[in-house]
């Protein structure tokens, strides 16, 4: 059995001091310790962005792919190697903007994966541009000086609409609660989506206030109508497992008999 810190690789993170992602990294190691995860059986798959650098900081297998494609990379790996514990992760730009289509289809396809999005409502690596979850009137980017002027979308409501069977939101200020949530997400059969409010103190210093705004909710339901009602009246700071309704993960097993590949070609 490994202790949480033994899951770290020793590579020094590139993150800024005070970044929420440090505590997400800690939460993952805590969840791994609780799961008694053998490092060689876990694979962390990511796209591009600050949070996507995380796989290199763990001593399990990892794949740091291209921008927006963590979910297909993880899907291919899990379908080909169902014996592995595959966790996809990344940021809000990676997952909801450039990778948005894959998010919808991963929710719908329901492969047995965990997807952790470290949401700080900003593109940090490219120095602070608006993302799909940035508030409408956030005017701190030179790229959109008037603010994005479009409404942020709601990842959890979207996940529900697209068919995800496990939907949760955590906060980087509560690594123990997040570790428990990740534990449940790994145990959930099928696709499990965890949004983590993970502050960017460099480009959105106001996010340090999140610790005052988050509130725990025990709304967990297996009823999609109830979950939808909750998520549409949510202020974005509720924490908890909102929806858990397992269904058989994809791909489904089929009976298939041995085939002579050449048979059909013979006249």
């Amino acid at each position: 059995m490994l202790k949480a810190k033994q899951y770290k690789s020793g590579v020094k993170p590139i993150w800024c001091p005070g970044c929420g992602h440090y505590s997400v990294l800690n939460a993952i190691t805590k969840a791994f310790a609780a799961l008694e995860q053998s490092p060689e059986q876990a694979v962390l798959v990511s796209g591009i962005g600050c949070s996507s650098r995380l796989p290199a900081y763990l001593n399990s297998y990892g794949f740091h792919g291209v921008h927006g494609r963590a979910l297909p990379l993880a899907t291919g790996l899990k379908v080909a190697r169902p014996d592995l514990n595959v966790i996809a992760l990344g940021g809000d730009g990676d997952g909801f903007s450039i990778g948005g289509n894959h998010f919808l289809h991963a929710c719908r396809r329901n492969v047995d994966l965990v997807y952790v999005v470290m949401d700080n409502e900003v593109y940090g690596m490219t120095k602070g541009q608006a993302s799909p979850t940035t508030p409408e009137h956030w005017q701190h980017s030179k790229l959109t000086p008037h603010g994005p002027e479009v409404r942020p979308f709601q990842p959890c409501a979207l996940a529900l609409a697209a068919g995800a069977g496990f939907i949760a939101r955590g906060h980087s200020g509560d690594p123990n609660g997040l570790a428990q949530m990740l534990f449940a997400a790994v145990k959930h059969p099928g696709f499990a989506f965890v949004q983590v409010l993970s502050q960017c103190v460099t480009f959105c210093p106001e996010q340090v206030q999140w610790k005052e705004q988050v509130h725990a909710e025990s709304v967990g339901t297996d009823n999609p109508a109830e979950a939808a009602h909750f998520l549409h009246s949510d202020d974005g700071f509720a924490k908890g497992i909102f929806y858990c309704n397992p269904r058989t993960p994809w791909p489904l097993p089929h009976d298939s008999q041995a085939t002579d590949l050449r048979e059909g070609f013979r006249l």
Binding site: V45, Y61, G65, L73, A74, G76, A80, R262, L267
Partner: protein, 585 residues
């Protein structure tokens, strides 16, 4: 050794493609070799469609320019592909009474020809039996002329229609019989092609199917793809079979997902591929660079069609060469292989599958609509020695030793640990990295890894699989080509020899890294080299010339390039004309 070419035209829905397929199968059952190609308009139903079947006593892998017999079920839309089905004064035309008005332009020409147009009532024959399928009556008629209207025709009809139930099959048999009987009253004024000594249990296959066979036999166990013409039928063939081998096929949400899924599976140690065509290949190019940088085995099959953009989705062209060879960002060495014939789709894809695993990188295979969707009668293909598993360089690191995933070895290939192997844990990365797989922006690491990734492909250029050479001893002219033009060039070679002009033909299978030494050797004793390819910009010709040093260029015979785009197929006659037009040395 008479070959003969029969074209069948109709609008989509008249069943000319089904007619062509059944005719080829029936002819094969009677000892003919042959090849069938299909040409469609973009419409799903109701557009123009045509099938062309060439039959003869020996295996046929290409088409010639002439149409000996044209069978018309419907004249409407004929003009849209008239330039792909060139009629000559000696083309015999048989049309159904319900074929509609002949195209105006053609009508006057037809009246002036030595061969008239024979009008027969195939639709009436079908209707008399309560069937709407004039194509089946026509099938019986032509099959009787070929002498394959007995058991071979029956089994061809059964093969095509058995899923529609016994009644449909029985009706088709009786309509075909009525068609066959018509031949006695209305004989075809043309001698049928020579039949072969019955081929020993021949195969009937498309290039796309054989590409699928090559992939699965060589160990591909994961496929992810997005539907696209003309690659989809390769995927559909594999979808029905891969699960019985313990593998999986995933229909992805787009090409970006498809290629990344395949990379994920390859990282997991499961030989993986995707298949696509031009627009899809363009979408995949970013992730193909990831396979190169992260050194993940990846096979991509590109069944080329007319481009750029949506281009001509249903017709053939060799115009993705530049994208395949140059289309990746950064310095991204990878392998590009071109299938040299329909049967070679099997060989090239199987070899490519092994190469991807062995070299831990991207291998692209170029096929095209002609190879992919044509159907050929061919001798059974041999089993091949290529396998992804045999050559896997994956090694569990020795216990206690440091493991460097991207170790700078002499061969450039590094031990590849697979998830699940204790001690091998690493993070594969598209970021530049050090030997130990830690992201690095240092110049030294970048140069080392760039050189390593280049080095691991160098030895490939000398591989015996680089190409096919058909040499004639007295030849002073070389025809150089790649991909699907090879069988056409071989037929040109045969015809030129009959006219007393011996030429040698080289078909290049390995496009990148270019097997330059082998190519120079094949050119050295020649007076002339004619390079032929099917694209507008002479893409391969420019590439070849860019690889030659000034000294090499000086020592070479004159290089003439003949390139033109699709969708018209290349014909042996066209190549012969180019050879005969070469300046004499």
């Amino acid at each position: 050794m008479r070959n003969l070419t029969i074209a069948m035209t109709g609008s989509g829905g008249t069943g000319v493609v089904a007619l062509g397929e059944m005719l080829l199968r029936a002819a094969a059952g009677a000892g003919y070799y042959g090849i069938l190609r299909k040409t469609f308009g973009p419409q799903i139903r109701g557009g123009e469609s045509a099938a062309v079947v060439r039959l003869g006593p020996r295996p046929l892998a290409s088409f010639c320019g002439e149409i000996d017999l044209l069978l018309v079920l419907d004249w409407s839309h004929f003009q849209r592909f008239a330039d792909e089905i060139p009629l000559s004064a000696s083309t015999l035309i048989i049309e159904d009474v319900a074929a509609g008005a002949r195209p105006q332009q053609l009508a006057s020409e037809l009246l002036a020809r030595e061969q008239g147009v024979q009008v027969l009532d195939f639709s009436g024959l079908a209707q008399a039996q309560g069937s709407a399928h004039s194509n089946i009556a026509l099938l019986g008629y032509v099959a009787a002329w070929l002498g394959c209207d007995g058991e071979p025709l029956q089994s061809a009809i059964d093969h095509r229609l058995h899923k529609q139930g016994a009644e449909v099959v029985a009706l088709a048999h009786s309509v075909a019989r009525a068609g066959a009987e018509l031949l006695q009253q209305a004989p075809i004024n043309l001698q049928p092609p020579d039949a072969g000594a019955a081929a020993e249990s021949p195969w009937l296959a498309t290039g796309n199917q054989l590409a699928g066979l090559g992939a699965l036999e060589a160990g591909i166990r994961f496929v992810a793809a997005y539907p696209i013409t003309p690659a989809s039928d390769a995927l559909e063939w594999m979808a029905g079979r891969i699960e019985s081998l313990g593998g999986r096929l995933v229909q992805a949400e787009d090409e970006l997902a498809a290629v990344n899924m395949a990379i994920g599976a390859g990282f997991g140690g499961v030989p993986a591929m995707t298949a696509t065509s031009g627009p899809g290949l363009a979408l995949m190019s970013e992730a193909m660079g990831l396979a190169v940088a992260s050194e993940t085995p990846l096979l991509v099959l590109d069944v080329m069609r007319g481009g750029p953009s949506t281009g001509i989705p249903t017709k053939s062209e060799q115009s993705d060469f530049n994208l395949a060879v140059y289309g990746l960002h950064g310095d991204a060495p990878h392998v590009v292989v071109a299938a040299l014939s329909l049967a070679d789709c099997h060989y090239s894809v199987a070899w490519a599958t092994q190469l991807a695993s062995e070299r831990q990188t991207l291998v692209l295979v170029l096929s095209d609509q002609f190879l992919g969707q044509s159907m050929q009668v061919l001798p059974p293909l041999p089993s091949l020695p290529f396998h992804a598993e045999l050559s896997r360089a994956s090694l569990p690191p020795p216990a206690g030793a440091d493991y460097f995933r991207y170790l700078d070895t002499d061969s450039g290939i590094s031990p590849m640990a697979l998830p699940g192997q204790p001690g091998g844990e690493y993070t594969a990365d598209g970021l530049e990295h050090s030997q130990s797989a830690v992201p690095s922006a240092r110049a030294q690491d970048h140069e080392q890894q760039l050189a390593k990734r280049q080095r691991k492909l160098q030895s490939l250029a000398a591989s015996t699989q680089w190409g096919e050479v058909s040499a004639l001893p007295q030849a002073r002219i070389l025809i150089l080509c790649w991909g699907s033009l090879f069988p056409v060039a071989l037929e040109a070679q045969q015809r030129l020899q009959e006219r007393g002009t011996p030429v040698t033909v080289v078909g290049v299978r390995l496009l990148a890294p270019l097997p330059l030494e082998s190519l120079l050797r094949s050119m050295q004793d020649m007076a002339q080299v004619l390079l032929v390819e099917q694209n507008h910009q002479a893409q391969f010709a420019h590439y070849l010339q860019s690889q030659l040093t000034q000294a090499q260029r000086a020592g070479l015979p004159e290089l003439t390039c003949y390139s033109r785009p699709g969708p018209r197929l290349f014909t042996p006659q066209e190549i012969m004309q180019q050879v005969e037009g070469l300046p004499r040395a």
